[in-house]
């Protein structure tokens, strides 16, 4: 254990001496050793109010003689522990050297049972219809620490069941256990105190400030952190029980922040996206807008079938026809890639453009307003990946002026557009009509109408791969659902196209296989293997691109390189 910091302190946890870094509270310290202290109101990324009382534990310190300062000893010579006469809350108690903590004693068990009983007094028996059932802390702790039956014979409290507190959030007041996590989230993360408790005692009710509603782009995080089913997402409400959902690690593609997410899908249909904890990127949060991205999988304008000149065909035929068409224009081909493609796809696209001896590959930039939290100005998730793989040499432009000029001058006659709508990127329709266009994309768009060959592209939910976010952090995402029926699997659209162009197929269509090639060719990736990339991502050396004027400003866990230099 040489890599452990040397400032560890020793505490006694349930009779066992353990070493842990200082500054933690008891909940965090215990969780390092696999001991769960049940809690509702405590959240690692929010302040500690200590109002749920669920995390009560027994705590004591070795006694010292007040007069002499000598340690007090038992008869057998061991230090005498001065136990605090009443249990303390583990969330608000920081550990100290020599501290003794008991999380499983009889007193603690009795405390938990008592707290559970009080919490359940007015809690409705809504579990069969409650969306939280299955991931509900109240359910879990009731089975772990509850009495199993109720002594409460009076009628339960009645509160409003269906209050809309925001465009995306519904409140069921009866289920609320008044932990105040959502209130603290609004105050501390959103920065707008929208939510609060009114009334007192059993009348206590969560409400919004009069005339306001919870309409912030981070409002759905309150649903995630709600330990019970009081706050529910309007989008996910009554859609699917959580225990059916297959959880797949993914990445939010809406900006270069690259929030870590979990995609919940069942039988090839995505039902929701929730944030995945990564304390170096997004903590436990993500924007609401990123949660709706799964709708592109079944969008009406989704491109799902291959076609050559408007006639449907198989994937193999389309790839072969595309290769023939592009080879006809060898030397006069322009490749338009995208900052939305995965690192592997960008690498293969670079290889394809090399075969075609094309002009430098273009990409389309997208810029929006940064919110300083988890949405950055660069709305492409993987521009840095495109730079690293060499697909593009410089930062992309929003309008492809250069390409337009080349098309006008006849320098370029054949186009391979991958994941980008050229019409949107400033190429007029008449130029597209003249050119021979091969379009690989996720959706029908104006470029489609002028393209000779169309190939569907898989969305981020339908493939595995990697993105490089604004921190030059390499992050993996996994396939959650299968692509549309009949489409080529994974990277095979690109590997097959490469094979059709060159007649040889050195690339297997899996990210792991592509990574063996990338690790050889790209300096920043050398020594990396796909399967070795950790879940929290791996920061790469981006110094090669220090001079480029990236547009991102400061956001959560990110300070732009320029600002660091200034500071």
């Amino acid at each position: 254990m040489s890599d452990q910091p040397d400032n560890l302190i020793t505490i006694n946890l349930n009779g066992k001496d353990v070493q842990v870094e200082p500054g933690l509270n008891i909940i965090e310290a215990a969780s390092r050793f696999g001991i769960e202290v049940p809690h509702y109101c405590y959240h690692p990324h929010l302040s500690v109010p200590g109002n749920c009382r669920m995390c009560l534990v027994e705590m004591g310190m070795p006694g010292k003689d007040r007069a002499t300062g000598e340690p007090m000893l038992n008869d057998d010579g061991s230090p005498k522990i001065m136990w605090v006469p009443k249990p303390v809350i583990a969330c608000a108690t920081k550990i100290a050297p020599g501290m003794h903590v008991s999380t499983e004693s009889d007193v603690v068990q009795k405390c938990r049972e008592g707290v559970m009983e009080f919490l359940l007094v007015n809690h409705p028996l809504d579990c069969p219809i409650c969306d939280q059932a299955g991931e509900c802390r109240l359910q879990e702790f009731a089975t772990d620490y509850g009495r199993g039956h109720s002594r409460f014979v009076e009628r339960k409290n009645v509160k409003p069941k269906r209050t809309r507190i925001g465009p995306r959030v519904m409140l069921d007041d009866e289920r609320c256990i008044l932990c105040s996590r959502c209130i603290r989230f609004c105050n501390e993360f959103i920065g707008k105190p929208i939510l609060g408790f009114t009334e007192r005692g059993s009348y206590s009710t969560l409400t919004t400030f009069p005339g306001k509603e919870l309409d912030d782009n981070y409002s759905l995080n309150t649903v995630d952190i709600c330990p019970v089913g009081a706050l529910t997402s309007t989008d996910f409400r009554f859609k699917m029980r959580v225990w059916f959902l297959k959880e797949t690690d993914s990445i939010d593609t809406e900006s270069s922040v690259g929030c870590n997410t979990i995609v919940g899908s069942r039988e090839g249909k995505i039902h929701r996206i929730t944030p995945r904890r990564n304390d170096e990127v997004n903590d436990t949060w993500m924007p609401d807008s990123g949660r709706m991205l799964y709708k592109q999988v079944e969008a009406d304008d989704r491109l799902t079938a291959y076609s050559i000149a408007g006639k449907p065909c198989s994937g193999e035929e389309a790839v072969k026809a595309a290769a023939e068409l592009l080879l006809q224009g060898q030397g006069k081909v322009a490749v338009v890639g995208s900052g939305r493609l995965s690192v592997e796809e960008q690498f293969l696209l670079r290889k394809i453009s090399e075969v075609l001896q094309s002009a430098p590959t273009y990409a389309v930039a997208r810029y929006g307003e940064a919110d300083g939290k988890l949405i950055s100005a660069d709305r492409n998730p993987n521009v840095r990946g495109a730079l690293l793989t060499g697909m593009i040499g410089n930062l992309p432009e929003e309008q492809l002026e250069d390409l337009r000029k080349k098309l006008e001058s006849g320098e370029v006659t054949h186009l391979l557009a991958v994941g980008e709508d050229l019409a949107e990127a400033g190429i007029p329709a008449e130029l597209l009509k003249q050119a021979q266009v091969v379009y690989i994309g996720t959706r029908h768009c104006d470029t489609c109408q002028h393209s000779k060959i169309e190939l569907p592209l898989l969305t981020v939910f339908e493939k595995s791969g990697t993105f490089v976010n604004q921190q030059f952090r390499l992050q993996k995402f996994n396939q959650a659902v299968p692509g549309p029926a009949g489409t080529l699997f994974g990277l095979s659209t690109f590997t097959k196209l490469y094979a059709a162009l060159t007649g040889e197929s050195p690339y297997a269509p899996s990210p792991a296989a592509i990574w063996t090639h990338m690790a050889e060719e790209i300096a920043e990736f050398s020594g990396l293997r796909y399967q070795d990339i950790p879940k929290t991502g791996k920061v790469l050396d981006g110094s090669r691109f220090d001079k480029l004027p990236f547009r991102e400003g400061a956001s959560l866990h990110f300070t732009p390189a320029a600002e660091t230099a200034n500071a």
Partner: protein
Amino acid sequence: MATKVVERKPLSIWERSYLPQIVGGLKITFKNMFKPTVTLEYPEERPEIPPGYRGVPTLVRDPNGREKCVSCQLCEFVCPPKAIRITPGEIPEESESRHVEKGPQEFEINMLRCIYCGLCQEVCPEEAIWLQDIYSFTGYSREEMVNDKQKLYELGGTLPDPYYKWDRKKQAELEGNPHH
């Protein structure tokens, strides 16, 4: 283990001829011929279904006509052959059982898959799914063997409800908060 030697009496010639046994057997079968039959003439006569019989799973309504299922999907989860498929939905605002909030939009039980184990009935928190006394369920096509929601309620009918859980809840809502 202690072994016990069983004394076997040697058979006499008469016994070894096998004839007395044949005669004995013939006597028994002859007597049997005049006993009443033990069979059930099926299409006309129907067996008496014992209580607790596990027949075709059905959905039931409570005596007030409210559909009991709230589409919690526990049966779908527990079903070993994955015969149950539920599409949950919200109960529309204008419905009388609006206070239940959630109900099945579509409820399908594939009787080609069902193994009549009764786990769905056992797991149901609302006592909405019952394996009743239908013991012969047939059809001419696969589609016919998939019971949809309407068919399930037709087969299930109404069962008495000892609790009226949701009605009491609605009443409480109307009466307001009891805590003063």
